[in-house]
């Protein structure tokens, strides 16, 4: 019976599968995720731990901000991942809408809560940092407001994907919302350059020297990379659970169908 289910399952890879569609096979995805997940988790936790201990206890304090500057070892990675996570959400949504990749829908649904959590951490730590340094918990400048909009986009996506009786309709509505929201990403990034804001411009850029002392930069890079791996591990774990859940649902549905067909209960 099991064999019959997997053959007729909608989760079976499409004919002529290639590229990303190799991972559309849930069994292959689960095996791969199971193998990668422990390493990803361990590396993420180790890098974060080293970066946090280094940043909180050994890195020099800022000449103006004193020890309050250490909030950045949490705030900056959370802020980077709030945006990067949304970018991942948008890519998953595009892959789901255009290529109908069966894992992309699930990936989008599982990325959103993790991204929302990191955005919340970014907003909370930013507020805690803003009060002693700027003199305000919150201001409505372009950077802070656009990140708050990002948080609401995540929450909207979480609500929308769960608002329909048929999951497929929820996935599609969520994907469209996620792609519309992408317009917010350049606004977040460039808000501090385009408009006068209270938030300072970027310290670390692709081109040009970072305007941060090297002894503070290293631990920041450690926590940033560690947080990225933790983000990835959380999404991968959630996605594995979602794939398993979908498989169990399909099995239960098929069992029910077989039961009805074999016994002819409703005949």
């Amino acid at each position: 019976m099991l064999r019959a289910v997997s053959a007729s399952s909608p989760l079976a890879p499409p004919r002529g599968a290639r590229g990303l569609h190799r991972f559309a096979n849930p069994g292959r995805f689960l095996r791969l995720a199971g193998r990668v997940l422990p390493w990803l988790t361990a590396a993420g936790l180790a890098l974060s731990a080293v970066g946090l201990v280094w940043g909180l206890f050994f890195a020099p304090a800022d000449w103006q901000q004193g020890d309050a500057v250490r909030i950045m070892y949490v705030h900056v990675p959370a802020a980077w991942l709030a945006s990067a996570g949304y970018f991942a959400l948008a890519i998953a949504s595009a892959v789901a809408l255009v290529w109908r990749h069966p894992l992309a829908d699930l990936a989008a649904v599982e990325i959103a809560p993790v991204g929302a959590a990191f955005t919340a951490i970014c907003l909370i730590t930013g507020s805690l940092w803003g009060k002693p340094m700027w003199g305000a918990w919150w201001v409505w400048d372009a950077r802070l407001t656009s990140v708050l909009v990002l948080f609401f986009l995540y929450l909207g996506h979480i609500a929308l994907t769960r608002a329909f009786d048929s999951p497929e309709r929820g996935y599609r509505a969520g994907a469209i919302l996620a792609l519309v929201g992408v317009v917010n990403l350049p606004i977040i990034k460039f808000s501090v350059d385009w408009w006068n804001t209270l938030h300072q411009p970027a310290t670390i850029s692709l081109f040009g020297a970072p305007t941060m002392y090297i002894g503070m930069l290293w631990p920041l890079l450690f926590t940033a990379l560690g947080a990225t791996l933790i983000f990835a591990a959380l999404v991968l774990a959630r996605l594995s659970a979602a794939v398993l859940e979908r498989r169990i649902r399909a099995l239960l549905a098929a069992t029910a169908r077989d039961y009805v067909a074999e016994e002819g209960h409703l005949a």
């Binding site: 109908r100 700027w134 400048d141 992408v182 305007t211 941060m212 090297i214 503070m216």
Partner: protein, 166 residues
């Protein structure tokens, strides 16, 4: 055209349309999206009595502390390099307030042209350096913080300083 190619084309077309719409909207509301105006913005168009936020650097040597009705008060000039405005404020300043620092003040323009602030926020810039590096830059004459922004990062972000000033 395959169906997935058509879907991709539709997606890209929607993206282009949405992107242009967003860009035009932001351009149209450009003046409303700024958190504060600079002294040179103020010079041309502000009317006395209007409540607004004024931002810039605290001009070197302009800070005068005074006591007004038993409360700490301060007068200073906010400058953007081209124009400057006299600001008066009664209350507690943020810790980061100093000459050469960025500030954003909320208040109203008095008829005599000076700005009466009800709130002063400190705006720190994107540089982060330990005390030792600042001391070294001061000693070598490369930077006096009261003069304005820090020198290019490449001149100090890997500066070799010993912790105890040795």
């Amino acid at each position: 055209m395959k169906r997935k190619h058509r879907r991709l084309a539709i997606l890209l077309a929607c993206g282009l349309g949405l992107g242009s719409a967003a860009a035009l909207t932001l351009l149209a509301f450009r003046d409303n999206l700024v958190f504060f105006v600079t002294p040179s913005d103020l010079a041309g168009r502000a009317k006395p009595g209007e409540t607004l936020r004024l931002g810039g650097l605290v001009e070197k040597g302009s800070v005068v502390r005074e006591v007004v009705d038993g409360q700490p008060g301060v007068r200073f000039r906010v400058s953007d390099g081209r124009a400057s405005v006299e600001v008066s404020f009664i209350g507690v300043l943020p810790d980061l307030f100093r000459e050469g620092q960025g500030v954003v003040t909320l208040g109203t323009l008095a008829p005599d042209g000076h700005f009466i602030a009800a709130e002063v926020l400190a705006k720190h810039d994107e540089t982060y350096m330990p005390k030792e590096v600042v001391e070294a830059l001061k000693k070598s004459g490369h930077w006096q913080p009261a003069d304005g922004p820090a020198p290019p990062a490449a001149t100090w972000n890997t500066l070799n300083v010993t912790k105890n000033g040795g």
